[in-house]
């Protein structure tokens, strides 16, 4: 398992494909995600296209260390740039991110324009007014949900090894690190910064995504954006329509690699017969979220919420 020390952080990474190909760095999403999701979905098509593919587990995720601090957006950008430095990658790279990973890709391109030659943003969130509070709230909600007795009971009875390991990791990230406070402080991206981003950018959103307003923002602001709106998909478009996402991404890199000029355009993408059903998925997510909101609302009773990690001590005692 390749690891590298990046400052005080030990980072797990995987490097695939052609060493002499153009480098694409892949950035996974937050909390329940790690490099495996992109490794199994999009990395293969880029390896086949002869590219040099770098995937890594971000701070606190997957098999990278989980220090108590450093979870700000700036911290994540810093981790990425220092990883590139450590691995001796000096040439500008393509960044491909999913969800929060797309946010990090976008922020990196703005903070270090000379290090980035193009962006692929799948379901990009980015900080607008109120985003920090919003994401902090969602993380608190996830932490609250995991602490609920019926959720723990379900995990004990039906969760099995895989889901329980995932739940423990999420608990640890929420309870044992500063991720909530760090992200609450996120500053909105200035629209002018996006207007001045002179890079080829390709983005993919599910038409039912809860991040769809960000798609509209990007369309309005980015000068060289190819927008792909996937029918019948939601925020998990990468998993809902993996094959179609693969072909759109492969086509993008073929054209960018051939030096084709990228101009602003917007396309509606039909997905395969076995793909989609994102709206249904989003409805499930919204339903459970609303239920947790209700419970957390009555638990907090209008006071500032303190997450009570009631199960954490018990898990630790078990040595799990």
């Amino acid at each position: 398992m390749p690891e590298v020390e990046v400052g005080d952080l030990r980072v797990h990474y995987q490097r695939l494909g052609q060493a002499d190909g153009e480098t694409v760095v892949m950035l996974h999403g937050m909390l329940v995600d790690n490099l495996s999701s992109l490794y199994l979905t999009l990395a293969p098509v880029l390896v086949t296209s002869g590219m040099d593919v770098l995937l890594y587990d971000q701070r606190g995720h997957g098999r990278t260390q989980r220090p108590a601090e450093g979870y700000t957006i700036e911290g994540a950008v810093d981790d990425l740039v220092r990883l590139l430095d450590t691995l001796g990658i000096d040439e500008p790279v393509h960044l491909l991110g999913n969800s929060y990973g797309a946010l990090i890709a976008l922020e990196t391109a703005l903070a270090h324009p000379h290090r980035v030659k193009g962006l692929v943003l799948v379901e990009a969130h980015f900080a607008v007014e109120g985003w920090g509070d919003h994401v902090a709230h969602d993380l608190e909600l996830a932490g609250f949900g995991l602490g609920e007795d019926d959720v723990q009971q379900w995990l004990d009875e039906f969760g099995g090894r895989k889901l329980n390991r995932l739940a423990r990791k999420v608990e640890a990230l929420i309870y044992e690190t500063t991720i909530i406070e760090d992200l609450r402080e996120a500053r909105p991206l200035p629209p002018d910064a996006l207007r001045s981003l002179d890079l080829p950018v390709m983005s993919i959103y599910g038409e039912h995504s809860d991040a769809i307003e960000r798609a509209r923002d990007l369309e309005a602001l980015l000068p060289r954006l190819e927008m792909n709106l996937f029918e019948d998909c939601a925020h998990s478009v990468l998993f809902e329509a993996t094959r179609t996402v693969r072909s759109v991404v492969a086509d993008w890199f073929a054209r960018v690699g051939a030096g084709d000029e990228i101009v602003a355009r917007s396309t509606k993408v039909a997905v395969g017969e076995q793909e989609g059903e994102g709206e249904e998925h989003q409805e499930h997510v919204d339903f459970y979220k609303a239920e947790l909101e209700r419970r957390m609302g009555s638990a907090a009773a209008g006071t500032a919420l303190r997450i009570a990690p009631k199960r954490l001590a018990a898990d630790g005692a078990d040595g799990a």
Partner: protein
């Protein structure tokens, strides 16, 4: 974090390369051993791995552990095994639903220098 990459015994793969027919059973055994290494100290149940075991349902391997397993298999069997290329032909569900036997057959096909067939193991 202690991936036992050095301890993965390459002689298993080398031995198979020497034989005219590829022994899928031996590959299944190698996969089973590597799964135990990848899961490591977390094994707190009696994990009986056979060709029919599904990585997701039976072994409950996390995706990130599946990546680590692939890495160990690559070290064991060498560059001839194009696991990543194969993943690119499969849906995520198909990868997650793979059985040990299907993975072993793919490896055997690569070792036998057959072009891995399109729908291999992806049923």
């Amino acid at each position: 974090m202690s991936a036992p990459s050095e301890s993965a015994s390459p002689e298993v793969g080398t031995a198979q390369l020497d034989t005219a027919t590829i022994d899928t059973g031996a590959i299944v055994e190698t996969i089973a051993r590597l799964v135990h290494e990848v899961i490591g100290e977390d094994i707190d149940f009696d994990l009986d791995i056979s060709a029919d075991s599904s990585f997701s349902e039976d072994i409950e391997l996390e995706s990130i552990e599946f990546v680590a397993l692939g890495e160990q298999l690559q070290i064991t069997y060498g560059e001839k095994i194009d696991l990543v290329g194969w993943f690119g032909e499969l849906d995520l569900d198909e990868i997650i639903d793979l059985t040990v036997g299907e993975l072993a057959e793919f490896i055997a096909a690569c070792l036998a220098d057959e072009a891995p067939a399109g729908g291999h193991g992806g049923a």
